[in-house]
């Protein structure tokens, strides 16, 4: 008979984190595309969600992702100064800085929310960001704090 405690332990060792990645259409999404067409090997844990601009990422998207059980949330946009809409990523930077501080304040592990600037030419950087993120989250294990229990 299957021992339930052992089954859980076995699950934890080959835990594959689920990462929600909000990628801006103009830079990071194209960057992730480049990583793909360049056939770079990087973990397949990030679920990309294309948004029009990192500045359009509402804090509610991030909270909602955590609530629905995401182990990590990545928001990625154009480098400062390169925004397609001129200043969307500056707004995003200020707003998401506060989100990050707030999540840290209530005691969510600070590694779980990350922001990055990835341009359309930086396929390698995107692969690196996801690789680092997955590695860090594998150490932390599944996110249970903000996940809604059903």
């Amino acid at each position: 008979m299957l021992n339930p405690t052992k089954a859980v332990a076995a699950l934890d060792t080959d835990f594959e984190p689920k990462i929600v990645a909000f990628l801006c259409k103009w830079c990071s999404s194209a960057g992730s595309d480049l990583a793909g067409v360049s056939r770079l090997q990087y973990p397949a844990n990030a679920v990309p969600i294309q948004v029009m601009c990192s500045g359009s990422v509402s804090p509610m998207y991030i909270l909602s992702a955590f609530k629905k059980g995401a182990d990590g949330v990545l928001v990625s946009g154009c480098h400062p100064g390169d925004c397609h809409y001129m200043k969307g990523n500056f707004y995003a930077r200020r707003r998401l800085y506060l989100v990050q501080k707030l999540l840290g304040f209530i005691g969510l592990e600070k590694e779980r929310f990350r922001m990055s600037w990835v341009s359309a030419a930086e396929g390698v950087k995107y692969a690196q960001v996801v690789d680092d993120f997955v590695r860090d989250i594998k150490v932390l294990g599944p996110q249970r704090r903000l996940k809604a229990r059903r």
Binding site: M60, F105, A148
Partner: protein, 344 residues
């Protein structure tokens, strides 16, 4: 010293001259020493106005309520409304003006100074009285309150029964006012600004989560914090999602797939979503009037979430809510020097 008599006379004069349609102020209610908010629209009633440390509520809320009532009314009364405002209330009015919720000439601010102290905390006073009930609390200089219990009057150090936010307050007299009663207070000698948020931050990550999980778990989702907040003026709150019109033609799929950011069940995950969203929506707008924490039936320290963001806004972006009605709001402005090191 605030001369309440002057305030009453001025209020009566404003009403007599028809300059305002009403005065939002405090009067003696049925809740003992705690004043009740009231709207006065006859000059004779102005004699009921009071100002003492029991005037805890934030009256800016009633300006918002009036605004909503006028917007819904077929015959709106366009005359301005006067409001008795302490330091934090006047900051709330300033934020509402900054957001163009109403215009400067639609509100007359009768500023009252907190006399160097502040208002009392009901929980702290109740703990101190040990079951007895006080009938009156008065200002007594910059360090103490005079508390009357039965027929005996005693002087209580202000720091022992003052509300936490008053201890941390940086501007105890209303900066935005048309008339000011009492002397403006320049410096404050109590706790450091953001002392409570800094103390909460000092705990480890596990301890902080244990605390907040406990708080979120207890939340009843009565939304008292939202109802009492002068900044929560949206006609429809994002957590309610009531604007979907359900007709006989609405398919089950449409009903099921409407966006619900937050479920109504009061689980800790859903409550966390609600409170964090509220904190983010108040970032750079919260004036730290402490009303959310005061009305919470299960004593969740909601002020901490807001003051944490207030602290970040002040320290990283040099932004203070209600400081200047012409400044761009915190989240609709940026600077090139904003922190960038946290981004990879």
């Amino acid at each position: 010293m605030v001369k309440v008599e002057e305030l009453r006379l001025h209020a009566a004069k404003l009403l007599e001259e028809g300059k305002v349609k009403g005065i939002i102020g405090y009067r003696r209610g049925t809740a003992g020493l705690y004043a009740e908010p009231c709207v006065i629209d006859r000059p004779v009633d102005a004699a009921a106005l009071i100002w003492d440390p029991g005037c805890v509520s934030n009256l800016a809320l009633y300006l918002v309520k009036d605004r909503k009532a006028q917007a819904a009314s077929k015959t709106p009364d366009k005359r301005p409304l006067a409001v008795v405002a302490k330091g934090c209330d006047s900051r709330a009015v300033a934020v509402l003006l900054q957001e163009n919720y109403f215009k400067r000439d639609e509100v007359v601010v009768l500023g009252v100074s907190c006399e160097g102290t502040g208002v009392i905390d009901q929980r702290k006073l109740a703990a101190r009285l040990k079951g007895r009930s006080a009938s009156k609390v008065e200002f007594d200089g910059a360090d103490s309150f005079r508390v009357t219990i039965g027929k005996t009057e005693s002087v209580v150090p202000a720091t022992e029964i003052m509300a936490d936010r008053c201890l941390e307050c940086r501007a105890a007299s209303p900066a935005l006012h048309d008339t000011l009663y009492g002397e403006p207070v320049e410096t404050r000698a109590y706790a450091q600004p953001f002392a409570a948020a800094k103390a909460a931050e000092a705990a480890s990550e596990e301890e902080r989560w244990a605390q907040w999980e406990h708080h979120f778990d207890r939340c009843l989702r009565c939304y008292a914090c939202r109802s009492v907040c002068p900044m929560c003026y949206c006609p429809e709150c994002v957590v309610d999602s009531t604007s979907i019109v359900i007709t006989p033609e609405t398919s089950a799929e449409e009903k099921a797939s409407r966006v619900r950011w937050c479920e109504r069940s009061a689980g800790s995950g859903e409550s966390a979503m609600y409170h964090l969203t509220r904190a983010m929506h108040l970032a750079g707008r919260c004036v730290d009037c402490g009303e959310c924490e005061r009305v919470c039936p299960v004593n969740i320290p909601l002020r901490l979430l807001n003051t944490k963001l207030e602290m970040e806004a002040f320290e990283m972006f040099e932004y203070q809510a209600g400081d200047d009605i012409t400044q761009a709001s915190l989240l609709s402005s940026f600077r090139d020097e904003d922190p960038n090191a946290f981004v990879r």
